[in-house]
Amino acid sequence: MTISAKNFRELRLDHMRRDFGGMNALRDITLTIKRGEFIALLGPSGCGKSTALNCLAGLLPLSGGSIWLDDQRIDDLKPEERGFGMVFQNYALFPHMSLRKNIGFGLKMQKRPQNVIDARVEEALALVRLTKQADKLPGQISGGQQQRVAIARAIVVEPPLVLMDEPLSNLDAKLRLEMRAEIRRIHNMIGCSTIYVTHDQDEALSLADRIVVLRDGQMRQVGTPHELYARPAHADVAEFMGYRNLLKAEAETEQNGRLTMRLGAARLDGFAIEPGHGREVIAALRPEDLTPVNDGPIKAAVVSAEYRGRDFYGLARTEDGLDLWFRSDLSVKPGERLCLGAPAERVLVYAGAAA
């Protein structure tokens, strides 16, 4: 395979900022991305992740800060001068061109000789497994195929950096899983850097080398998928990473980071993540870690439960009116009273007041 990214060491975002009519859509984004790295920008909608991507692409000018590719400052370059590849959310395939011409467009703009274009396009078509459809128009192929064309079109010019804007959000669940693997395979094969915008934490966890969590235009946490999954730095990141139970609690005693908290009538043990918390704390725990146990400290009644094949997931309510998402190996019925508990190492404690 001769498709491979041009050489560069790192892409540096230095205090990148973008305002929209007095609003900070993006604040103080500072990040260094190494060659070959797969970065996921993860956040809820409206968090500024697409804005960040468009700023990197050059489709939106920065309001402050700078972008560097090694020693070259690139934030004042036009999109066509940056040489990055981009996969759009709606694919943005040229509807009047065959797949072959769509993929060859970037090479044609670079004024490469026709025989080089033909060879490279053929290679890219094989990479995304669309050789047979090469002469069709984009309107004649399925969404998943269009998405692969969009990827092929972006990488055939060997960009140092490929930007992907929620490329899987328009696909059905099965295709999304397949394409996820496909995207990672192609990334590994060509050795470019990829910045991948998504609001789906599963996607980010399974694809990325590092995940950047954005909220309200600010970076909340940067880390490996494992770091983010096991130790979210803030309560809001925890919520986004699947810690569905965020419970207001009162800290009682603390020893080596291990806290005992009062949660209504119950006592719960957990580990402090955010230093400098006061008495008011938030205990975050995943539904899958909160299960009915014999000596479970939290007494609650089942409100609803749904069957997920191997186990049951449900909602339970304590006498104080606290809602808890839990998991159970055994069947539970609405109204059934449970004693819920979680191992202390799975309960993360953050500074309180918010929730």
Binding site: Y91, F94, P95, H96, M109, P138, Q146
Partner: protein, 304 residues
């Protein structure tokens, strides 16, 4: 040979006819078309056919085609075809050429509605008012010439009315907003992410226009050309008011008017009108054929 129906019709006749009509796509809703059909029949089809019939019955006899042979044997009369084409084709092309870049710019503007309103005003004025204004503004003693003279750019007033230029300018003024509105709607129909995608692939603005915008706009431009051309080809008021109706701007509509209402030869007038229609159809067919060589599908970027 006898065929056995799988399900025998319960009551043959009215019932089955209704069923059959429904299957072919005619039901009671189809009746809603009736007023429109009547309207088209009474105000368009009948007069057109009547005109053709009239043109084939010459006032002075001499066979069915006497009017047509008379038209094509007199250079003063058949010359009007070329006079009109020489006016209508450049006017249409200039209007299109002006509309495209302006529409591309306006698409990205915030006060789009204000600007489009301003541009549409000339349409509402009507040809006569526009002509009146032009006579004052562009006339030998009008502002335009006086400003140029006082700046010593010219020594003699430039002749801009009562000639070809006058009609040309008038047609631009009244035709441009029409062209512009149509082109704007076609331009805004092109997904902006397509241009962004082209830019990301290294295409500069001119290349994006040539490879993305223009091919996607081709079908729309062809339709706009046809509508604008038909309008310009039937020019009459401005050719009389700001033109030279006896000479350089003696367009085909004037010839038809002359025959019908000054020589009272309705038959000849109809013949000229029919010829006019045929020429318009030929040009429109030609343009539509040309545009069929281009992409005609939706101008979106894909699903989503």
């Amino acid at each position: 040979m006898e065929t056995i129906p799988l399900t025998a019709p319960a009551t043959p006749g009215r019932e089955s006819l209704k069923r059959r009509l429904e299957r072919a796509g005619f039901d009671t809703t189809t009746l809603l078309l009736a007023p429109a059909l009547l309207f088209v029949l009474a105000l368009f089809i009948y007069p057109a056919l009547y005109g053709v019939w009239l043109s084939l019955h010459p006032m002075n006899g001499g066979g069915w085609l006497a009017n047509y042979t008379a038209f094509f044997s007199d250079p003063y009369v058949y010359g009007t075809i070329f006079t009109t084409l020489e006016l209508a084709v450049p006017v249409t092309l200039v209007n299109l050429a002006l509309s495209v870049p302006i529409a591309l710019r306006v698409r990205r503007m915030r006060h789009q509605r204000l600007l489009t309103t301003l541009l549409v005003i000339p349409v509402t004025l009507g040809t006569v008012l526009t002509a009146q204004g032009m006579l004052n503004y562009f006339g030998p003693l009008g502002w335009f010439n006086r400003v140029l003279m006082s700046l010593h750019l010219i020594h003699m007033p430039v002749r801009l009315v009562h000639n070809f230029t006058g009609v040309f300018l008038s047609q631009i003024v009244s035709g441009f907003p029409f062209c512009f509105m149509l082109v704007l709607s076609y331009v805004t129909g092109i997904d902006p992410s397509l241009e962004n995608a082209a830019a990301m692939l290294g295409a500069r603005a001119a290349q994006r226009f040539r490879h993305i915008i223009l091919p996607l706009l081709a079908a729309g431009l062809a339709i706009t050309f046809c509508l604008a051309f038909v309008q310009a080809f039937s020019v009459f008021p401005s050719a009389v008011l700001v033109g030279a109706p006896s000479g350089p701007t003696r367009v085909i509509a004037i010839a038809a008017f002359h025959a019908a209402y000054e020589e009272y030869d309705y038959s000849m007038g109809s013949a000229i009108a029919v010829i006019m229609g045929v020429i318009q159809i030929i040009v429109v067919a030609l343009v539509m054929w040309l545009s069929s060589l281009f992409y005609r599908g939706p101008a979106g970027g894909g699903k989503g």
